[in-house]
């Protein structure tokens, strides 16, 4: 029903799409996968009218979809959930869901608040979300719930074509299950669905067809049944993947590098104890809103704990700001890359050195620019960040390379303790492996590492120990080689 032919799109010098053909049929889930920067989001933005293609045609039921406006696409029955939630903090959930397509008391009349509210409650119930939030300001909601609001917004449109750009990136497995249920219902109702995800294991569960993009071109388009996860991954990166070798758990003795006891933050997590040894990787695994990230943030002094003691190498710390943490050798790679991480319009060198200005100056207060460039060049090589050089702007990098830049920032000066929050969120498989390799290397060189993640395979592959966090409490601990099912069950609250 929807057909794209020869779509070309350039951003300045970047050739995001170079002649892509793509189509969706009614009652089909068509998955779109590819490395970071392959052009997936760009493609769907062109369908949804958010961007205009430089060349190519889009037809819906054989008629050209002419104007590149989001309003026109919505009118044509195309609903989109974008990668980043696009919501209005000052407006309520109900208003957000209907914004742009308000229900009215009569044609040309005022907004029908009551009818809107009723529909929203239905929708939220269907998605398994507490429908009490209908009148809450969106700014007061946690990110995951915001993402769900954003999804209900698309569902509210009763669209013929539904586009989901990485809806699962910040959802928990349980939320994803509910989402898939709703998607399957829609498919049964004849809706055509475009589904973008980096979680390749999801594809078999939900999709009927898979199109793989690489460098803005289609490299494969096949029924899901003819593909394996491994085959898709290899198509994405363009070479065969070596399986990550499983390594044995390491043993730790002596004083721990990081020692946490009784750490508490009201309403977020309860007294929390942890000790991490030299070279150890400990994962805090939890579903969204569990408090795992909140613990990491507290250890970095961003949202400081109310009570509790933290020691690094036996020294007690007072963690009120990230500066306190940094002074004690604690570094953090935050979870929200765009907001908390990068200085997008600035160069890689700028991004790397900003956290280490004291370290990179010969005369106090004055920057040693030669050294800065040298360090940047070195890290670009070591982490194989794909960029022309230290002066390349971070905005011009793909998501994965931006994430590597963020990690590189913490390698300028080797941290004693490294906190990572969702280190591979929205990162493609190739970059993911590289990031895991870098983290392991850091551990081997003696840093203590804490990973807060809701990506179960990542947690199990990376960590020496996994602490499962639920409702602000550690509910279970696993060693290396734990079974996925056990960990997930603990996190979801079924076991224990």
């Amino acid at each position: 029903m929807l057909e794209l032919r020869g779509i070309v799109k350039r951003y300045g010098g970047v050739h995001a799409l170079r002649g892509v053909d793509f189509d969706v049929q009614p009652g089909e889930v068509h998955a779109l996968v590819g490395e970071n920067g392959a052009g997936k989001s760009t493609l769907i933005k062109i369908v949804s009218g958010a961007e205009r293609a430089d060349a190519g045609t889009i037809t819906l039921d054989g008629d050209p979809l002419a104007s590149a406006s989001t309003a026109a696409a919505i009118d044509a029955g195309i609903a989109t959930v974008y990668q980043e939630p696009h919501l209005f903090g000052e407006l309520t959930v109900a208003e957000n869901v209907f914004l742009g397509r308000e229900l009215r008391r009569r044609k040309g009349g005022p907004v029908d608040w009551r009818a809107q509210r009723k529909r929203v409650v239905e929708l939220l119930d269907r998605l398994g979300v507490d429908s009490g939030i209908a009148d809450v300001r969106v700014a007061d909601l946690p990110v995951a719930e915001q993402q769900l609001v954003s999804i209900s917004k698309a569902f509210a449109q009763d669209a013929r074509i539904l586009i989901l750009d990485e809806p699962s990136a910040i959802l928990t497995d349980r939320e994803i299950e509910v989402l898939f249920g709703v998607v399957r219902n829609l498919r049964a109702g004849g809706v055509g669905i475009i589904y973008i995800s980096h979680r390749l294991d999801e594809l078999a569960q939900i999709s009927d067809r898979v199109t793989v993009l690489r460098d803005g071109q289609v490299v494969a388009a096949k029924p899901t049944s003819e593909l394996t996860v491994r085959a898709v991954a290899e198509l994405m990166v363009g070479h065969e993947l070596a399986l990550a070798p499983d390594r044995p758990a390491r043993q730790f003795a002596g004083t721990p590098v990081l020692q946490v006891s009784g750490l508490t933050r009201v309403d977020e997590f309860e007294p929390f104890d942890l000790s991490v040894g030299e070279g150890e990787v400990v994962a805090l695994y939890g579903l969204i809103g569990s408090g795992a990230s909140a613990i990491a943030r507290a250890l970095y002094g961003v949202d400081p704990a109310d009570r509790g003691a933290v020691h690094v190498d036996g020294q007690p710390l007072r963690l009120r700001t990230p500066r306190d943490a940094s002074a004690a050798g604690i570094a953090m790679v935050p979870g929200n890359r765009a907001v908390q991480g990068v200085f997008a319009p600035k160069s890689i060198a700028f991004n790397l050195s900003t956290a280490h200005l004291g370290f990179l100056s010969k005369v106090p207060g004055w920057l040693d620019r030669a050294r800065e460039r040298m360090v940047a060049r070195d890290l670009i090589d070591r982490l194989s960040i794909r960029a022309k050089g230290p002066q390349t702007r971070v905005a011009a990098l793909s998501g994965g390379n931006q994430q590597k830049t963020l990690i590189a920032r913490q390698l300028v000066k080797r941290p004693r303790v490294l906190l990572l929050e969702e280190p591979t969120q929205g990162v493609d498989v190739g970059a993911k492996d590289e990031i895991h390799r870098i983290v392991s290397e850091l551990a081997e060189n003696g840093s203590a590492i804490v990973v807060a993640s809701s990506d179960l395979p990542e947690v199990l592959g990376l960590a020496d120990r996994v602490l499962v966090v639920r409702r602000g409490k550690v509910v279970a601990a696993f060693g290396r080689g734990a079974r996925q099912a056990d960990v997930l069950a603990a996190a979801a609250g079924e076991a224990a």
Binding site: D215, P334, L357, K388
Partner: protein
Amino acid sequence: MKLPKRDTGALEYVLTERVVLLVALLAVVLVWFKVLEGGQYLVAPFDAGYLASALESMVPLCLLALAELLVIVSGRGGIDLSVGSVVSLAGMAFGFMVGLWGWPLLPAAVGAVLVGGVLGAVNGFLTAYLRFPPLIATLATYYAYSSIAMVSNDKAPISTKPVQDLSALTDGVKLPLLPAIPLQVFTFLMPCLVIVWLVLTRSTYGRKLYAVGTNDVAATFATLSVPRVRLSAYVGSGLLAGVAAVVTVAQFASARPDAGTVGNGMALPAITIAVLGGVAIQGGIGTVGGVFVAALLVTWLNAGLLLAFEDSKGSQYQLLALGVVLILSALLNTLTLRRYGRIT
């Protein structure tokens, strides 16, 4: 993964490097007036001597545009509407110290600049620590400072003998091969330009300022003290306004309580020059070079327009020219960003 290609054509260079564009514009303006002069369309020669003496009116404006550079770069809607009032109030303080209390020049000048710094610190505290939107905080202090300046000497200017003698600070200096350039260009403007340039491009503080202005959440995660950096941008703005106050008092041989707010005031032209110089309102972007060339451009364009008309039309066309240049350069920004995705 494909690397973004960058075709480094001349057009892209001119458009994305704001200083280059402005220098080109400046050349156009100078050549244009030269041609007009040759065709005898000007009432007086548009020569080096005239351009040099026009620098006198550039000095305070350029100083205040530098002040705006600092606060706009600091981000989160950074702007300082109060600089004109700070000029008035710090100028009155200078007038009191020199003209009524008989302080020697140097301590008085330092004192006035410090008064500016304190007034800037109030703005900075309001915006950085109490998190007032800068437009609001500085609108409020614009009102408050101008009122205090007015009350300070019961509305009267201070122009006692010592204040009148200050105008020696702004005499023209004759250098070999050059026309007489107002002294304050060397004694006040150049040092400030160099210091601000060094601080912004070579110091770690400059890095912090650009980082905070670009993304303050990320700056917090990168262990920067965001409020302190912002506060100091406003202090810097106040200090520069204090310098502008000293220059203004000296130039006019009189400390006037409405020096920086009379007419359209000094803040609006200063912001205009900063923006023309490529300082981006959203923060994190802007250079000293751009601001300096923009100040030159506006000054010489204005000076030329005054010679293009025998009567008062010249000062009216200055308004038009400023508005049109501002809109054109902003349109050019939009186009450049759309086409090349960046601008400096």
